[in-house]
């Protein structure tokens, strides 16, 4: 599928670039339309478990909705308080509601873009691409990959520490103060284990000849081909068209401190 075979560094740069452009927009319509477009692209050109995607997306929608009401509830005094919108039996200033909608749809657009990336990218390929295309130092990159591998081991380690504490008769806390102490009791062994593992891993890497130099070879060379440019071109073109449209239809607002 197209999104999976795309160069990961190219994909990441496009997503970050789009996010920066979106962060400068303060109307509600453009991010909403762009969110829908991004979701469509992800579903059409990506291959993954759609149910997991739906789950993540709904969690983010909930988050955006929470943001919507807090922004309305704690808004600044509007410059035109006479324009109001009725909402759930109350009258709210139109300006506040529009701002809140813009912020929430922006959060949705960011979420859709990051899900597009996360669901269609292999992390190892991404890091290899960062080294080969974006010139990340190999020492840092391979160190990162080693550290990232510890993530699934953390849970196991945590269960072990808990079991070790219980077998020695330390019971689970149920008061807030007790829980805080318990957190400390788990944190130090967990961190100590992580540090030890990191040290061992580094020693293993070095003993097998890892120097961290740039003049190394790669088992999986990552390249940028002509097709990789299609994605950024299409995404930015669509966003550009949306911005031009919003200008034409006069709901576009650049942020310049009007609230």
């Amino acid at each position: 599928m197209f999104l999976h075979t795309l160069n990961p560094a190219m994909k990441a740069c496009t997503v970050v670039g789009l996010v920066f452009v979106l962060a400068c927009l303060f109307d509600p319509v453009t991010p909403l339309v762009f969110t829908l477009f991004t979701i469509t692209v992800t579903l059409v050109f990506g291959r993954f478990r759609k149910r997991v995607y739906a789950l993540y997306l709904s969690a983010f929608t909930l988050f955006a909705f929470g943001m919507l009401w807090t922004t309305i509830a704690f808004a600044d005094t509007p410059s035109q308080p006479e324009e109001t919108i009725p909402l759930a039996g109350f009258l709210f200033p139109k300006e506040d509601v529009l701002t809140a909608l813009a912020l929430s749809f922006r959060v949705m657009a960011f979420a859709a873009l990051s899900l597009l990336f996360v669901f269609t990218t292999n992390m190892v390929h991404f890091i290899l691409s960062l080294i080969q295309q974006l010139k990340l130092p190999p020492k840092l990159a391979y160190g990162l990959m080693a550290g990232y591998r510890f993530l699934p081991m953390m849970k196991e380690e945590f269960d072990q520490i808990r079991a070790a504490h219980r077998i020695r008769g330390v019971t689970e806390a149920n008061s807030i103060k007790g829980r805080f102490k318990q957190l400390k009791r788990y944190a130090i062994p967990l961190l100590a284990g992580a540090v030890r593992k990191a040290e061992r891993t580094a020693a293993a890497m070095e003993s097998k000849g890892f120097t961290g130099e740039r003049t190394r070879t790669y088992y999986r060379p990552m390249k940028i081909t002509g097709r990789d440019w299609v994605f950024p071109l299409v995404m930015f073109a669509v966003l550009g068209v949306l911005i031009v449209l919003s200008f034409q239809l006069d709901y576009f607002r650049w942020y310049n401190g009007q609230f």
């Binding site: 962060a23 899900l115 996360v118 993530l151 953390m154 540090v195 990191a198 070095e206």
Partner: protein
Amino acid sequence: MKNWKLKEIVVLSALSVVFAVVYLAFLPVGKLLSGLFGPIGYDFIFGIWFIVSIIAAYILRRPGAAFLSETIAATIEVLLGNASGPLLIVTGMVQGLGAESAFALTRYRSYHLSVLMLAGIMAAVFSFIWGYFQSGYAALSGGYVAAMLIIRMISGALISGVFGKAVADGLARTGVLSSFALGRELRKKRAS
């Protein structure tokens, strides 16, 4: 980056991985508090989100440790799934730069508690300026925004500065840090 040892890099990324999970675990806590108090709820515990930069800098004592660890932790948060998306990586970079600025002020010579607290405060200030534009604090009323900043600075100093130092010191006492800067300092102190 050149004079970093590989094990320091791996330890840095291991710490970042651990705290990325901690950061995610504290998001619902922040959400709960913000449900009770409004957006200011996050600021009470905001210091927790700078803690890895202070711990990593305090343990490794290298220029860039604060910035790198916070950036990596934020990146891992995004990979694990976070609503703010790739922009969170920039947030992490800004927070890391804030903490880094405090250590740079001492030219990476002093890692006294006051410097660590300053690092927490600077991270709070940097993240606040960024949040002001990115999350639209501009849309909130002035006094409320000022209260947010002050609470976030206190939280940064206490949670990431004081508590972060306590965690790192506790870790050093177990002996696992004996080949890192903090462990070496502890050994010197014990010997004298």
